[in-house]
Symmetry: C3
Subunit: 473 residues, 3 copies
């Protein structure tokens, strides 16, 4: 066990080392470093701000909810039980959270060069004031320092929200969610702005493991006959209206592909009947998801909710792990995605509508220059979401900009989404995104493709104006 | 409305900012900056040089014909009518071209970082001598300066051709084109070298919207019975010979895929019969295009025309826009392309023939390192065309070189094609290509992978020798 | 004919030219430059060290066995006969090896910027002490210097092995190979460590041109009834045990796709029967290869051999060339590969087994960030092999690191494989890999994403520790 070395958070981190570019990047970053955080898409838990209870300890806060972290540990042979990850049945192995933390600390070298290390070191340094690196030797000191801090007032969720300078954050809820936490936040008089987003996958995807129960509950909660096509669509309209009344400005759709369909009404109705009577095969399920994206777009024309599609993930690739631990356990793997054919039915129906707005994400970087930038550089409704999930590393963000800039420019993109469940990492993630955008712009300025005053305007737009405008926040 | 800021065109633009690399890039660029332009593939209008009439105004010259520009404006909600883009029926909205120009100017920030901005700023600065940036404030001054200049002798098409130091330019014509403009250029005694290229898509693609009429006209113009397989092939040979007599050294094929076929004669004949009797389904249409690529290759063996394939575009992705405005309106989207299986029938037939030469292009960058460089690095007939269309940005050109160099080297590539309809941008585009190639080479020299004398030779080859040799110009 | 210019091998080659990054790269490289070579995967000939005979001449040593080199020459119209490449029937054109060398030398400019030039120049400079560049003028001096040196003791295979500081090298043999050369090396008392690897493609792939004969021989050599499913599997187990006894620690599988299957025993048996009775169609052949990968994994659980899959190559793309010259003649072209669906059956069966280890390679770089890094960043059994074959250029190595780092980190990769038939290039290839890894790490340090002490540890791990551990060497 070696003594821990100093933890540094260099003010020039992520900027190019070329002195010309670095100097420009510094100046651009100075323009955006202090802007409020707009977080239009993510998976934080509204209960944090509704209840404002302290987080339990370092392990529960930073390790257990972060599948970026425990997937890497699992990939090197570390048992999820030993980290205290909950099982599908709700049980958990009897694990001392301090021991889980030590296990994590001993393997922290695995994260070298990864975005997780960037985010975690930022949290350690900036949020908790730690000044030694995490390693086996410092594990206990880390655990104690973090766990102790969490019991104090400045580390309660609302206090952190304010300290992080978050202007608005969107969570993501199922149509079945009563949004009680959002209501409680509103009722509390606290001024933090937390809005929801409409994520109807469980009542739209016939292959979702909880589709049948979700549909039943969807009927109960709306009072509609959701086994009838018209009633089912009315139920969506009703819940979307309720979500909008609770601040939602967007919907989100996490389908395995980005296929859309625009069936004649009688075919759509017949398809729906097969789906709700359990007669749908895999092709029907895919077609139903596809049709529902177009139905959602139709509703967006009416209620103005900005539509988001996050497609192309093979969920739960590890069958044994899924059976034991359930969803979202780091076993999701990207798939090739075809946006050109997939989106055409929806786009031919609504793509030229001035009020309609659709933000696209991808896990397939080969589509950046081939499909997404050309689509967004033509269709008025389309905007590109930022580098997503497996691609939110500094390198991934560079690729996103370098591969979309030529055809889509900066102004068909929507700035940054953190898309995270890890609340404390939000400032770190936005900081990384701002630094990389400034670095990209600095290179353009240094190579005389953009004047610095233009770059500064773009930097501010990407950090603040575009996400607010794109998401109508 | 803010006052316009200065427009700079920095002599080191597009060179790396690292001082070592920049110094090398400068020296390499000095070797190629003054070389004549060889433009072996593009879509300029030969009427310009046949008639030598002045261009009408800034909008007609720079905005209306440039789908790179108006697609970006359309993507941000600007109506094509407001820009004066012609409709499919030949009509145009009543638009004051000055108003269209102002609309463009107000949105010029959308192009920040895009190749269009690079090209346009080059044209503004170098061709028209403008020294303030285009913006809402300067829009009228721009419009007047450009429009006034166009009425003067130095801005007539032939004068610009000479000023641009164009040694030879190839246009692209359908087999149905009588090449009257090319004849007029020859007859005029003007010494500019303008050649044609044989682009038979309208008489080869059964799914082209004008296939039936084109085929009928193909028969009239050749005197062959083009509804008979042998007559149809003879008609091609006849027109190719005529095109060659008018200076053509190449053919070009813009198919949705790069599929080729090598059918036995009786099957080819039967397929042709289905095509010309309107009995071909989509698979037949695809197979016919595939077979015709191999037939074109067979003819190239005889007449020596260099073959080009520009595959992989979903044309007219926006149905409503296509119905209203027709083709080439910025709604074309790249597709995944499979060269390995697609080209095999043609290559197995002719790929080892010493006289045969086939230049490949792609809109699917994932094929650079996986398919195109390995194919070009083996087959004697194959050469790689430069980064094309959606990929002709500086970043796209870097990716092309970095992803093809290892396997194909520099000498299985053909230098630059501008592929443009925008005449005034030609020097800008060649300049960008030369600068990027010099930057790529400078990096290799600075990292001690190439000696500077070798790099200088490669730079000259890419800028001048290779395109001339590859296209037999 | 111009006089040859000096040949330099700059000590900073392949390092970034930015002074900050270069200085760090130098320091990191100093830590790894002298480490022994661990070469866990390649195609060198064990006869070299068994017999220790001198290599014949420059052409036989450096040109004839290297398909990287002669494919480039062939792509520019040079006949393989003129280079003395053996034909499929074993005959060779009557070619003076000196003339072949001159032909190569005259075209050496074709390799500018390619990895072949890097490796060859390293060999010329470091192994043979040449100080002028290869060109037409120096061709004969090169030929003589190299050929003369080869007749001397220090250039015999064992002496070079020792001079190259190779700690262990793995060759690759078919199950039919008696491993006589490996036995001879052991019996000789020479201390160089040369091990084999089990590469059963000829007895697993029903579409291999020698499958039938190979299967027959497989029966003879094992004494098993290999036309019976159980006997066939026993034969594999027997040969694997024999290979392991001769030092093998790994198996290798070069399939056209990475499809795996996990059939119920009766279906596997029925499939095998179709295969050995010649009733298998293409789909059966694919399914059989897929099933056999899972069978091989099952055996690895027992015998501990590390499994490698090298998929995704269209072999012998040039039919005429294949008929005349046979396999491995530079006409292999990469294919798109789908790891997500392809590997799932095998992974669902064995992917969570602690003892199982599977190293993945790809020729489809689009899978780095989309599939391979996410898979390796989750599944405990999976490791990523280095940038392979068409992608082992410096640019390809950079892409590998930049596209896998974010999700897989450094520690789910296995360091470098040279995968070569070109013995003399081994130090050059490992040197390139070490330099690029140091350059990648230097960039991370210069951009303050990693401390230099951490980078130094990673550099040593990648150069030495990880390949030894991953391959259990």
């Amino acid at each position: 066990m070696t003594a821990a070395r100093p933890l540094n958070l260099h003010p020039d981190r992520l900027f190019p080392s070329d002195p010309t570019q670095r100097a420009i990047a510094r100046r651009l970053y100075a323009e955006v470093a202090g802007l409020p955080i707009v977080s239009p898409h993510g998976h934080t838990d509204p209960a944090w701000w509704a209840v404002d209870a302290p987080f339990a300890n370092a392990t529960e806060l930073l390790l257990v909810p972060d599948h970026y972290v425990f997937r890497m540990l699992y990939s090197q042979g570390i048992d999820l039980d030993a980290l205290g990850i909950p099982r599908a049945d709700g049980s958990r192995a009897q694990v001392d959270p301090r021991e889980a933390w030590r296990l994590f600390a001993r393997h922290y070298h695995l994260f070298r060069g990864t975005p997780s290390a960037l985010w975690l070191d930022h949290v350690f340094h900036e949020v908790f004031g730690l000044r030694e690196r995490l390693c086996a030797d410092s594990a206990d000191r880390y655990y104690d320092a973090i766990t102790d801090a969490l019991q104090t007032a400045p580390f309660r969720p609302r206090a952190l929200f304010e300290r992080f300078n978050i202007e608005v954050i969107a969570t993501t809820e199922s149509p079945l969610d009563p949004l009680a936490h959002h209501q409680a936040i509103r009722d509390s008089g606290w001024r933090g702005r937390v809005v929801t987003a409409y994520r109807p996958d469980p009542v739209i995807d016939p292959e979702h493991e909880q589709f049948a129960q979700s549909l039943e509950r969807f009927g109960e909660i709306t009072g509609e006959n959701v086994y009838d096509w018209d009633g089912y669509l009315r139920a969506h309209r009703q819940r979307r209206a309720f979500f909008a009344s609770m601040g939602a400005t967007s919907t989100d759709h996490g389908h395995p592909t980005c296929a859309t369909a625009d069936l004649p009404p009688d075919q759509a109705r017949a398809l729906f009947t097969r789906v709700v009577t359990g007669k749908a095969d895999a092709a029907d399920a895919e077609l139903f998801r596809a049709q529902m994206l177009t139905e959602m777009a139709a509703m967006s024309l009416d209620d103005g909710l900005v539509m988001q599609i996050h497609p192309g993930c093979f969920r739960n690739h590890n069958r044994a792990l899924f059976e034991r631990y359930g969803r979202d356990r780091g076993a999701d793997i990207p798939l090739r995605t075809d946006y050109v054919h997939g989106l055409k039915p929806l786009l031919d129906r609504f793509g030229n509508e001035p009020r309609f707005r659709l933000v696209l994400f991808t896990l397939d970087e080969s589509t950046y220059s081939r499909e997404l930038a050309p689509l967004a550089g033509h269709w008025p409704c389309l905007y590109l979401g930022p580098a997503w999930w497996f691609h939110d590393s500094p390198e991934g963000m560079w690729r996103f900009r370098e591969q979309t800039l030529g055809t889509a420019g900066f102004y068909n993109t929507v700035g940054f989404n953190d898309d995270t469940r890890a609340f404390l990492s939000i400032p770190a993630r936005h900081d990384v995104a701002r630094r990389i955008d400034c670095a990209v712009l600095a290179k353009l300025v240094a190579e005389h493709r953009l004047e610095e005053d233009e770059a500064a305007e773009v930097a501010r737009d990407l950090a603040y104006r575009l996400p607010k405008e794109a998401y109508r926040l």
